[in-house]
Symmetry: C2
Subunit: 119 residues, 2 copies
DNA sequence: CTCCTGATTAGACGTAAGTCAAGATAGATG
DNA sequence: CATCTATCTTGACTTACGTCTAATCAGGAG
């Protein structure tokens, strides 16, 4: 359950802000795949709920907060897992998810704007 | 040319990191649309080229760096424009693009991870 | 005005992505 | 073992997205 289904390479060696240096083609492919994982409203909100919860969250507490079916939530959680943004563990009947902050830090750095370039 | 084709509301009033507070449904929809704009390798690389260039970039210097047709580049630039990530201006025969750092800052803050939560 | 060049728009096409219902799996309990 | 609950997987369906060619638009030059 906690194995990573997709490539989880360092994503370009983390990381120079795009305002400092342009990405090459390969880095763009890898980077875009992480953005894609957060490019859906349900996934972005799932990520924010998981990330803002200290410790971990049970799927059974996640599903009722959305208007879509259980399988759909399960699908979105899998996408977040494959992107390296969360991990999970089954304990008894329930499955618990927690955030993996490394990728968030990577994206945040990539998008960071030098103070003197703001506005 | 520099009009904004889509809603460019403040995107949730910019901005609390997702590790501090979960997004509500409406904020997630709006936020996901910005991530979607960078969720394509060509757009992410276009954005990084535009952002890393001091001043502005001519479309004529952008297109040759990619293996897709001119109209495709034009389409991707439009998506970035509608997401509020870049703006442009025609001067004579050529069109120039520059970054709008506000949205980058917003995303970067949203994804930022408190130092004590890293790893 | 006419022609040429750079850029965008329109429309068509194929693939990818989100959703659901139905079935499968994991584990607890009797 | 059988049964029940929580979660995930499968397969089908529909819509969204990236790409192209062809056509259009904006400006400069002759």
């Amino acid at each position: 359950m906690s194995r990573q289904e997709l490539s989880l390479e360092p994503v370009g060696g983390c990381c120079v802000p795009i305002m400092d240096a342009a990405l090459d083609s390969a880095a763009a492919v890898e980077g875009a795949s992480v953005f894609k994982a957060l490019a859906d409203p349900i996934r972005l909100r799932l990520m924010s709920i998981i990330a803002s919860t200290a410790g971990e969250v049970c799927v059974c507490d996640l599903t009722p907060q959305f208007d879509v079916s259980g399988p759909t939530i399960s699908h979105h959680l899998k996408v977040l897992r494959e992107a390296g943004l969360v991990d999970c563990e089954r304990r008894g009947t329930w499955v618990y998810y927690w955030p993996l902050p490394e990728r968030l830090t990577w994206m945040s750095t990539l998008l960071s704007v030098p103070a003197d370039a703001r506005h």
